[in-house]
């Protein structure tokens, strides 16, 4: 076991997991630039802004397999005319079907209209950097188990909103597991809070917390910087490796 754990195979697997996310991150970063570069007349008009967002969100959802379950822009309250938060967000509604727009004020959702406490809003706005939230159950948009990547949109140095995408954990699982299974050692993909996204070990349930001595401390750099590079030994037979700039880590060996 130890020889597998300490070989270059886990490094390679962690890198490949990161590569699954890299193009998705690039896509969202591209959306951010698109929105930041919009002429003021467009960015300040809800209708024109929605059209500009739809121009990148709809193709991302239409062309996809459902991995991207939602995409769009959410603006800071009071940035645009009209009450509350401006939400230009579309949801995948099944293959071949036209994506569905998320209504900004759904009936009965009164208590949920304030997004400021949500991690996918709070963290990127505070750090002015891209952030991966989850895995978590998103009950605002897709009602499913997702990872959400959001990145802040800045105009004249001020955050005016976030663009982002919801990624279905179920779909990611199908992409990640084939990379981890060949290692031949128990292998678990966790976020920076040690929440399991997927695992080759049947006892490690997605959504549970991976409890191992020293793991929380080992993951600490990822909580502070999602792009931190991590390759830490835990005890004799386990190793923690970061996956690119995702803030996720692979725990190999236990």
């Amino acid at each position: 076991m130890r020889s597998v754990v300490m070989s270059s195979a886990p490094v390679e697997a962690a890198r490949k997991v990161g590569e699954i996310f890299a193009p998705l991150f690039e896509q969202v970063d591209g959306w951010r630039r698109t929105v930041e570069e919009l002429p003021s007349a467009v960015a300040g008009s809800p209708g024109a802004l929605d059209d500009a967002v739809a121009a990148f969100a709809l193709p991302a959802l239409r062309g996809g397999s459902g991995l991207i379950a939602g995409a769009g822009l959410i603006c800071t309250p009071a940035l645009l005319p009209g009450p509350g938060w401006h939400v230009a967000w579309w949801l995948f509604d099944g293959p071949g079907k036209e994506p569905r727009r998320l209504p900004s004020g759904a009936p009965g959702s009164d208590q949920l209209r304030d997004y400021s406490a949500m991690e996918w809003w709070r963290v990127p706005v505070r750090t002015a950097a891209r952030h991966l939230t989850g895995p978590y159950v998103d009950y605002v948009c897709v009602n499913d188990y997702v990872l959400t990547v959001t990145t802040p949109v800045l105009r004249s140095g001020e955050v005016t909103g976030v663009v982002g995408a919801d990624l279905l954990v179920d779909r990611l699982d199908r992409l990640v597991l084939p990379l981890l299974l060949p290692l031949g050692a128990p292998c678990t993909l966790v976020n920076a809070t040690a929440r399991v996204m997927t695992s080759t070990d049947a006892r490690r349930e997605p959504g549970s917390l991976l409890r191992m001595d020293g793991l929380t401390e080992a993951l600490l750099p990822l909580r502070q910087d999602s792009a931190a590079s991590l390759d830490v030994e835990l005890g004799d037979e386990a190793r923690v490796l970061s996956c690119g700039a995702t803030s996720l880590a692979v725990v190999v060996g236990r």
Partner: protein, 257 residues
């Protein structure tokens, strides 16, 4: 063998049982009525347009229109024309109380007991699993909902209760429990949490949240479950007693009709 056959028959009868489709407009009407009565939609609040309501509920435009018409005829919604027009909730504390009372009288004691049991099963399991799966960040979110609770009114207390429970279900990391919790909130909340009319029960709801938070901090699943289910049980007890009280207060001829 015959046991197997019977089992198969029963499974088949479930497969081909009539789909629950008695009037989607009725379902929409019920959902909105519940939200209005429970105070989730407040007096004077503007409802989304018929079109956006139809989209968000996933029903046809005519269905949303029909539901709104029913709410208007019951005086729960008014529609104003013109530039600042739209449909607005009209629901005072008094009319909400009368509505809830009527629903309470229409429900049998078995209905109430069964509803509470269903809510306990979902919320109790959510709390139990959450105790094993909550991170410090999750606890912070739950705590901020708890601390932000406005216990001065029944509506405020109910909103805090609903939000806390929904977040608790989310912490369990189960999409199914979250969806079921959302469904139950619209169906059961106006009735089951009627006790929040009273100060003492609003205080109890806050105390129950404290117990849940403490159990989550200790990572104690059974304590988390029982903190939730005992509050449901107390709410049911109050409801059963209230139903008895209202029935006894009514003239006999009215009850018979």
């Amino acid at each position: 063998m015959s046991g197997d056959a019977r089992h198969t028959d029963a499974s088949l009868s479930v497969v081909f049982a009539p789909l629950d489709d008695h009037g989607r407009a009725g379902l929409v009407e019920r959902r909105l009525t519940d939200a209005i009565i429970s105070g989730v939609l407040r007096d004077g609040e503007r409802l989304p347009s018929e079109a956006s309501m139809a989209t968000s509920l996933g029903v046809a435009l005519v269905t949303a229109r029909e539901a709104l018409e029913a709410l208007r005829s019951q005086g729960l919604v008014v529609t104003r024309r013109g530039r600042d027009g739209g449909s607005f909730v009209t629901c005072t504390t008094d009319s909400a109380a009368r509505w809830a009372q009527r629903r309470l009288l229409e429900s049998s004691r078995i209905d109430l007991r069964d509803l509470a049991l269903h809510v306990s099963a979902i919320l109790g399991t959510a709390a139990e699993v959450a105790a094993d799966r909550a991170t410090d960040d999750d606890l912070d979110v739950l705590l901020s909902i708890h601390e932000g609770a406005d216990l001065r009114t029944a509506g405020g207390a109910r909103r805090a209760l609903g939000w806390f429970q929904l977040e608790l279900a989310a912490v369990s990391q189960s999409p199914r429990l979250v969806r079921e919790e959302m469904r139950l909130q619209s169906e059961a909340a106006p009735l089951l949490w009627m006790c929040l009319r009273e100060d003492a029960h609003r205080a109890r709801s806050a105390e129950s949240r404290e117990e849940v938070l403490a159990a989550l901090r200790r990572g104690d699943p059974q304590a988390a479950r029982s903190a939730v289910t005992s509050f449901v049980q107390e709410s049911l007890d109050w409801l059963v007693a209230e139903r008895m009280r209202v029935r006894n207060a009514q003239p006999a001829d009215e009850e018979a009709s």
